[in-house]
Symmetry: C2
Subunit: 324 residues, 2 copies
């Protein structure tokens, strides 16, 4: 009989759940808002209910296990969410609580690690023992597979490459450090830079302001993509700075971890696919020759599904079931 | 009968060899100049001869094996030195050649990796599964132990943390990238910054020039240490910039790898021990809380011996002998 796991991708604004088989194939999936303001217990209930429903609607499927990728710091042994800033959760025992509700095994891991497992096993990282996934969305997250093992680090926090310093005199990051990779190249930083540039030079920024329907607060990374399509000079300048920051971060990652594959995913990369070849040229030029001679740079392949597919694979693995 | 291995630390200017037991204790050691200009074969001969001599002088000791740490890129499977810039070696089969000369097994590894093994097994990293060693000398080298394993990466090049970008608008590095960690905080960069500052402001730089006996080219990182002792303003300014760069690099390393111990060694750190507490305060302030809650920052313990002790441990390990 075919075995299935449920993969859950729990973000600050939306939750995705999917029924996934051992080959990483999605049989069915759902997406719904997180409503994080309603608090931990309500979010927990909504996940449990959604899992029960999707199983019912799939011939009363009995999944082997569930795993949830959460944007936050997870205690490895217990699956306790130590801190999830977007959800405003501190020390909640998600693994135990959801498992009691559903009556099946539940595992919890970091959302970016789950997405990396997805890309590693079924996506752009297939059959590769040394890879780094860089997901450039609102922030920048990373997952590192080195010598055939996903790095965890002492506190289950290895891979926070959004917070490597690439510009020590650069802008302050949400984390308190200056010049973090994501403070220069994450979606929130792109929005900040665009808004600053428009304020500084209203005539050059007119087009962007129009795209944003006259409200400067609507200017985001998406506006940049639109501005580039219209050949807007200010957008080209910000894009060029963004490219330099992405190259600097990628060079750091390549020199530090020596991956054979560097995989870029996330909304910013999907919205501006022209970034990838620019990063590739920069990395080949500026990273150590010894570290790039075997290096391939690829786009992520699973797109929005990497989180649920990777979480499901994590669920199988935690229950000692081999995945392929 | 007690078992011994020979550890060799092969640098661009000097070679150290030591007879080491399984507990990392040195029984005897020698140091002599590399004379790299004499070419590969002469250096090879001098190492073989020195090993034979030290064994003869130690009751005709028969070592179990030899391992050499080389400042360069090593092919893991063969022990071929792909490239060693300081020695100007390209693709030399050091492992095979020395083994044939000596008639015992020889292994080759990167010198910084050897030093990291030394600190990990017998020094500041003892009993720790997640650590990063940062050696700040003329350049900056690193070795990473993550989840109980020394990282190798796809090309045996993981851990080149001297070449992570910390200042993307910063000075050009020897490697061609801009703003590498070692281009701001390595010994060669400190010398460059001091010389520049003295040239720019001769009266403020007078003391440093005097320390360097009037020759600006003699101004090095050692001069900085001396200038600080004499409360020289220009030295204090360069020291403060150096501290910022070391903090930025350390924050990157801590966020990327999540170590439980961050170990600093090398000539610059030993020459200016006041740097370590400054780095510690900076890392605790600017790295992610989740990554620092378990973090200890320590000085390296084995000093100049980490290379030979670590190489000897590597020799035991390559010959399937447990070390403690």
């Amino acid at each position: 009989m075919k075995q299935f796991a449920i993969g859950v991708d729990l973000g600050g604004t939306k939750i995705e759940i999917a029924i996934v088989d051992k080959n990483g194939r999605i049989q069915d999936k759902r997406r719904f808002p997180t409503n994080s303001h309603s608090g931990y217990n309500m979010v927990l209930d909504s996940i449990a209910k959604a899992i029960e429903e999707i199983c019912l609607q799939n011939n009363k499927l009995k999944p082997l296990a569930v795993a949830i990728g959460v944007a936050g710091q997870i205690e490895k042994e217990t699956g306790i969410v130590k801190y999830a800033p977007n959800l405003e959760w501190h020390d909640v025992n998600l693994q135990k609580d959801l498992s009691e509700k559903l009556g099946i095994p539940v595992s919890v891991c970091n959302d970016v690690k789950a997405a990396t497992i997805g890309e590693w096993l079924y996506g752009a990282g297939k059959d590769c023992d040394n890879l780094v996934c860089v997901f450039v969305g609102t922030g920048i997250g990373g997952g590192i597979v080195c010598d055939g093992k996903m790095l965890e680090g002492s506190n289950n926090t290895a891979g926070e490459i959004g917070h490597i310093t690439i510009d020590l005199h650069g802008p302050v990051c949400h984390c308190g450090n200056s010049g973090c990779f994501e403070a220069l190249a994450g979606g929130w930083a792109i929005g900040r830079d665009l808004q600053k540039a428009v304020l500084k030079n209203k005539s050059a920024g007119e087009l962007l302001l129009t795209i944003a329907k006259g409200n400067i607060k609507n200017i985001t990374a998406k506006t940049l993509s639109e501005g580039l399509k219209r050949n807007n000079e200010l957008s080209k300048k910000i894009f060029s700075e963004l490219s330099l920051a992405l190259i600097a971060g990628a060079v750091s990652v390549v020199n530090a971890f020596g991956p054979a594959r560097l995989i870029f995913g996330g909304g910013i990369m999907e919205g501006m696919p022209q970034l990838l070849p620019i990063i590739e040229v920069g990395v080949k030029k500026y990273a150590l020759k010894s570290a790039t001679s075997l290096l391939e740079i690829s786009p992520a392949k699973l797109h929005n599904d990497s989180g649920v597919i990777g979480a499901a694979a994590f669920a199988f693995q935690q229950n000692k079931i081999n995945v392929t």
